[in-house]
């Protein structure tokens, strides 16, 4: 009753192949765009915008990792290293040749994609956990290289200061300007991924995920498509690294170590593998939940603990509760938050005729 899918007649191929064929969906997306572009920056304070910015950057990375892990089923825990590759490439370009953002961001992504191609080469021979270990090796090797090659890292401190980007002559200094900048990249990432999945390449990825031996037999060149998956996912990770550098004002590989890779893997798994909305939910969950847990503990902790013990207890409790929530959500819905959302959506889709 809320969502009419029938009675929509398309009269051209373009209308049939459109990304948003139903008018209901179009109105919903338009409303969301208005909300995020116009309403949110106006009503949010600086602190909420800073959290939103972190979530937006994480969304780009999670969507990229989802292409590799969710759609092609190649487990990778080297994402953090690709982010640092992207970050340092862009930082070097910005500092040495004053590259604007529309060169620095794609360049960072492309460099990460190149490295991703190299890292993905073992995927021809090994799968699953073994591939994860080889990507772990890539993470550590890339960290070591950045640490020791001062041409790349800009000195022993391995930190390069990145000035804020300037868009059409406006230097982005305030949080809401950065928010709109990051939102543009998130929209590009979402639209790009949706189109990628509907295309021939995307179908090849899904075929490899479902049964790669069968895919090879029917003629899909799985080596080429696996490498492409690594390259595309690393491109997203590189872009994420560049965005982090712009947001933080500094490119430093110590921000992108193993724990970050595992964080992003957690985002993809909790959010739901193999959908575009899944990594968005996962990114919001993993970024926002520790903050909300801490707020909740501060609000109610006084009931259970003496005030002097509170600050000693909260950090450890927060970690325990966060881990517990992850376990809880995965037990309740192993396919991730996206599945929970689908269940709710399907219920309302056919309401009141749920049969």
């Amino acid at each position: 009753m809320f969502y009419r899918e029938s009675g929509v007649f398309k009269t051209s191929y373009a209308a049939d192949m459109a990304l948003l064929p139903l008018p209901n969906t179009r109105w919903a997306v338009a409303g969301l765009l208005v909300l995020f572009v116009a309403v949110v920056p106006l009503v949010s304070d600086e602190y909420s915008l800073s959290i939103l910015n972190l979530i937006l950057i994480a969304v780009v990375g999670a969507i990229g990792l989802n292409i590799l892990v969710g759609y092609t089923d190649q487990v990778s825990i080297g994402d953090g290293a690709f982010m640092s590759v992207g970050a340092y490439t862009a930082a070097n370009l910005i500092v040495r040749v004053h590259a604007p953002f529309w060169i620095a961001v794609p360049a960072g992504g492309l460099m990460a994609a190149l490295i991703g191609l190299l890292v993905g080469t073992p995927s021809l021979r090994i799968k699953g956990l073994y591939l994860a270990i080889s990507t772990l090796a890539a993470q550590l090797i890339i960290e070591w290289v950045i640490n020791h090659v001062t041409w790349v890292s800009g000195g022993t401190q391995a930190s390069i200061q990145v000035p804020p980007p300037s868009v059409f002559g406006v230097v982005l200094r305030s949080p809401w300007q950065m928010y709109l900048f990051l939102l543009a990249f998130v929209v590009l990432a979402i639209v790009g991924t949706q189109n990628l999945i509907r295309s021939r390449i995307g179908r090849a990825f899904i075929a490899i995920r479902d049964r790669d031996v069968a895919a090879e037999i029917i003629g899909i060149d799985i080596f080429r498509y696996k490498l492409l998956a690594f390259a595309i996912s690393s491109f997203y990770a590189g872009v994420t690294g560049v965005l982090y550098s712009y947001y933080l004002g500094i490119a430093n590989y110590e921000q992108f170590q193993l724990d970050v890779s595992i964080n992003f893997l957690a985002m993809v798994i909790i959010g739901g593998l193999g959908s575009t909305l899944g990594p968005i939910f996962g990114a919001i969950f993993v970024t926002l939940l520790p903050i909300m847990t801490r707020r909740a503990l501060e609000a109610v902790g006084g009931l259970f603990f003496a005030a002097s013990d509170l600050s000693a207890v909260i950090p450890s409790l927060r970690l325990m509760i966060f881990g517990g929530l992850i376990i809880f959500f995965l037990v309740v819905e192993p396919e991730g938050l996206n599945r929970l959302w689908r269940n709710i959506r399907n219920y309302f889709r056919t309401w009141p005729f749920s049969y």
């Binding site: 304070d45 972190l54 401190q157 930190s159 707020r295 501060e298 600050s311 950090p315």
Partner: protein, 414 residues
């Protein structure tokens, strides 16, 4: 099963969302908020679980004595788990609550927060970590190391070795054992320059992260290279592994000097106890032990409440460093209030307050540091303590090493 678990889930989610608006501790009348980021979890928890209570203890002590000019100090301690995005979020939260200065935790966090500190005019302290170039107050106006940076530590280490080996380093062999990350690599330029000046032979031995495997390096040092002295720049779990390894391979620990993060009682206990580490020289930027007036005052404060002194005092190295970090903020606040004539200070006033710190030694606990607008390090003072018996004994007074050389390097970094 699904429906049964979903309702409590919704209620819990709603309650959690509601607590968002409960808000943190906003600074009210006659209260000054100092934002503290302190890790009690994560890779630095060995330090944080002792350091952070010390910060709280000192602030409680000051508040119990009436605060500063009638102002109560509020420390809102947050944990960033040694990651950068939470550090940014916590900085924004402290800023929203009206903090006037911040205690930073972690080298990448100090780097990442620096642009924001400059933009918002809020000073931040990073004693004993962060980039050594941050001592340059003109280039990093809002970052205050306020303790010997790694460059000063390296220079002071060489000076101590020179004094211990009879005043002349020509032809002597020095080994530099370090953790292979930017913090470990940082002293190398200073050591290489001093090698040219003093004429000793320097050999470097890198320990890959996480620093729990160094038997190859230790064997190399003790059997092959056989230096006259070893400078060990390790942190985390690595120092205790080094102590055990050196003891096992027979290299005398009285020829080993550990830099500031390889020097705590916790490392010695983790290596197997005081007998293992006899003779080990440790570099400190804050005094060790409880023979200082401020420690006695804190013990008295606990006694008045009927509680025993906190068990964190046993690791006096980290506890005293926590006292130092809190004390410099309070002293800067005192100076800032003098500037504002008693009105609540802003971040800019706190910055000037930090730069006015001189002769603030807390009874010998802190070195005679002198902070100026150009020198945010305060002089790079260190003190060497040696392990004798079951405690650390003072081996030198407060000293600086090759200060002109370090200052030259600090002021030349572009």
């Amino acid at each position: 099963m699904r429906y049964v678990t979903r309702r409590p889930l919704m209620i819990a989610a709603g309650a959690m969302a509601g607590t968002w608006f409960a808000g943190g501790a906003k600074a009210q009348q006659k209260q000054i908020l100092i934002g503290s980021q302190c890790d009690r979890t994560g890779p630095t928890q060995l330090v944080g679980t002792v350091f952070c209570p010390a910060v709280q203890d000192y602030v409680n002590l000051i508040n119990s004595q009436g605060g500063i000019d009638g102002y109560k100090i509020v420390i809102n301690e947050l944990d960033n788990n040694y990651q950068v995005p939470p550090a940014i979020e916590e900085y924004e939260r402290h800023k929203e609550e009206g903090m006037v200065s911040t205690l930073i935790w972690g080298t990448p966090q100090a780097q990442a927060l620096n642009p924001r500190l400059e933009q918002d005019h809020i000073p931040g302290t990073s004693p004993g970590f962060g980039s050594a170039a941050a001592a340059n107050g003109s280039k990093y106006p809002y970052l205050f190391p306020l303790a010997a940076t790694y460059w000063s530590q390296a220079a002071a280490g060489i000076k101590f070795v020179k004094d211990t080996l009879g005043g002349d380093l020509k032809g002597k062999k020095i080994a530099y054992l370090y953790y292979d990350n930017p913090a470990g690599l940082e002293p190398l330029p200073i050591l290489k320059e001093l090698q040219d000046i003093e004429g000793f032979d320097l050999h470097v031995f890198a320990v890959p992260p996480p620093g729990v495997e160094m038997s190859a390096q230790i064997l190399d040092i003790s059997q092959r290279y056989r230096p006259d002295f070893v400078l060990a720049h390790l942190f985390g779990r690595a120092p205790s592994v080094m102590l055990k390894g050196m003891k096992q391979s027979g290299y005398p620990l009285s020829k080993v000097l550990g830099f500031v993060w390889a020097s705590s009682e916790a490392d010695i206990l983790a290596a197997g106890g005081w007998p293992v580490a006899q003779g080990y020289y440790t570099m400190q930027f804050v005094g060790v032990g409880d023979d200082y007036p401020v420690i006695k005052e804190i013990k008295a404060m606990y006694q008045k409440e009927g509680k025993p002194p906190p068990k964190e005092m046993a690791t006096s190295v980290y506890y005293n460093r926590g006292i130092q970090d809190a004390a410099v903020h309070i002293e800067a606040l005192r100076n800032a209030l003098k500037l504002t004539n008693g009105k609540p200070p802003t971040g800019e006033d706190m910055k000037k307050g930090f730069e006015m710190i001189k002769d603030f030694t807390l009874g010998g606990l802190l070195p005679p540091m002198q902070v100026t607008a150009a020198d945010h390090e305060g002089g790079g003072w260190v003190q060497i303590f040696q392990v004798k018996g079951d405690k650390m004994v003072k081996a030198t007074e407060w000293f600086q090493g090759y200060r002109e050389l370090v200052l030259r390097k600090v002021n030349s970094t572009a």
